[in-house]
């Protein structure tokens, strides 16, 4: 499912957090949003999730404005992987993954057919096996490590069975091997993915396209290996960058960053 953001703005009081942003993400693409702290990445994601309402402009899923969907319909179109540090409750891993099918589990919705129920269970089972969290189901979410929590949240998003999945810094606070593991899972998903990423090298390896945010705008976008070498990119991040041939993988690059010399 494609995502079209047109001339999107969002203000809090006089402050313009998102300033006339437009972006077009094609079906099945993995798009990374990168940018310095406070540039508006998370706010853009919250706008796409309809958590906050835009002051101006539109977001469309497959040509239909998100404002035209109700909350149930939206939950069948896009799922979210929030930052794992925000998840604190005594719920178990299974409780949390089951929330993916929330709208269908009201008490009197017994009218659903056995087939639907089986399909839902299947979505949950599949998500559990993709992310490998089967051994954690009875654990309390608070007792898990950062990487495990992140996998649970990804499992939940997968179980929601939506064509679009939006992820907010899924590799934050994770050790190097967990980062790679998480991004491998995300890469294998056959969905339209929008990932806010801090780690530029990971964006280079895993994103089809990057959108660079700066002061609420998106001045640069394109293939990561091109964008990351642009002068403007280096100015936005206040760093020097250099692409080098990966010592581990033929034909792929790593990003070396250094202090900007003026």
């Amino acid at each position: 499912m494609k995502i079209d953001v047109r001339d999107l703005s969002y203000s809090i009081g006089p402050a313009r957090i998102i300033d006339s942003v437009s972006m077009h993400i094609t079906d099945g693409e993995c798009a990374a949003i990168v940018g310095p702290n406070g540039s508006g990445k998370t706010t853009l994601l919250r706008l796409m999730l309809s958590i906050v309402k835009a002051s101006n402009g539109t977001i469309e899923f497959d040509g239909q404005s998100v404002g035209a969907y109700n909350s149930k319909e939206l939950s069948q179109l896009r799922s979210s992987v929030p930052q794992s540090t925000t998840i604190n409750s005594g719920l178990t891993v299974l409780n949390i993954i089951e929330l993916a099918q929330l709208k269908q589990t009201l008490l009197w919705s017994n009218a659903e057919s056995k087939k639907e129920k089986a399909l839902k269970d299947q979505a949950i089972q599949e998500a559990i096996s993709i992310t490998g969290v089967g051994g954690l189901l009875d654990r309390q979410i608070d007792s898990l490590s950062g990487g495990e929590k992140q996998k649970v949240l990804i499992a939940r998003a997968i179980a929601q069975n939506t064509p679009i999945i939006l992820l907010d810094e899924p590799t934050n606070h994770l050790d190097p091997s967990a980062r790679i593991e998480i991004l491998e899972i995300i890469r294998a998903l056959k969905k339209t993915r929008v990932v806010v990423l801090h780690d530029l090298d990971l964006a280079l390896s895993y994103a089809d396209r990057v959108f660079v945010m700066s002061d609420g705008q998106i001045p640069l976008s394109g293939r990561p290996e091109e964008v990351f070498q642009m002068e403007e990119f280096q100015r936005i991040f206040s760093i020097r960058t250099k692409l080098v041939q990966s010592p581990f993988k033929e034909g792929s690059n790593n990003l070396i960053t250094g202090k900007l010399v003026v």
């Binding site: 999730l49 109700n70 909350s71 929030p82 409750s89």
Partner: protein
Amino acid sequence: MAIALGSVWIPPSQVLSVLANEIFGAHFPSSSTNVEIIWSLRAPRVFAAALVGAMLALAGTALQGLVRNPLADPYIIGVSSGASVGAAAVMVLGSSALAGLSVSGAAFAGAISCIILAYFFAQKSGHFTDSRIILGGVAISYVAMAITSYLELTANPGELKGLLFWTMGSVAGVSWSSLLLPVIVLLIGGFWLISRGSVLNALALGDDDAISLGVNVKRIRLGLLVSSAALTALAVCVAGGVGFVGLIIPHACRMIIGHDNRKVLPLSGLFGAIFLVFVDLIARTLWSPNEFPLTIFTAAIGGPFFIWLMTREKSMQP
């Protein structure tokens, strides 16, 4: 069993006979004194205790989920303080001063006005926030407490004792007819809440997450507030300010079966009912034929029980 016990012991078989006669129209032999004690005095109060316990525990669970604060209890939105003003006004000034309202009628009016005020103050740009509803409720509670204190100062000792008894809760002297509305509200509100267990789970993860899972957060928050306010207001009308149940029973349930609200909601309703029937039994038998107000025992029994649960939970987790 709770009906059998009291200042006069009536054998359980007699109790069952009388109940069967009254409810199902059976014709078991029974003495008229027993019928009077059981059907007119004890059965309604045991039923009322169960009802109030279930209402407060359910409302407490819902409000703790709504404001995401483990210290929330049904009275946090100002319900009991508002009800106290109403009750105190009738007891001290006389019901003629309040357009002939009864104590419970005035308590209900006081409770409802406080909830509406708290909700109104909690609004910020069209929706209310967790902290504002607590702060609004607390502020209104203090104003209401000030009015109640003033009324207490002007009261004579007899009125004061009655008022104290009322603010600490009692189901003495309830009649069947006064329980009809609370039963209806418990059935509707309780069913609505219990069916929202999963939604409450989603809310526990935060508003942002709940929205992304498809919850209409604004609507569900209003529903939670209205249903728990209605449950609490009617519970207060029946039994006055029974403390502790709405705060501790939900936590006790979570310690026993975990945090899944699909289980916590029905279980806390059940536990609240059993707990308050038990407490009422002690309140009316310990110093028989005199009575204690309920809050003395909800706290005195509930507190140690809760601490025992806490230590048990600690020892279970390595």
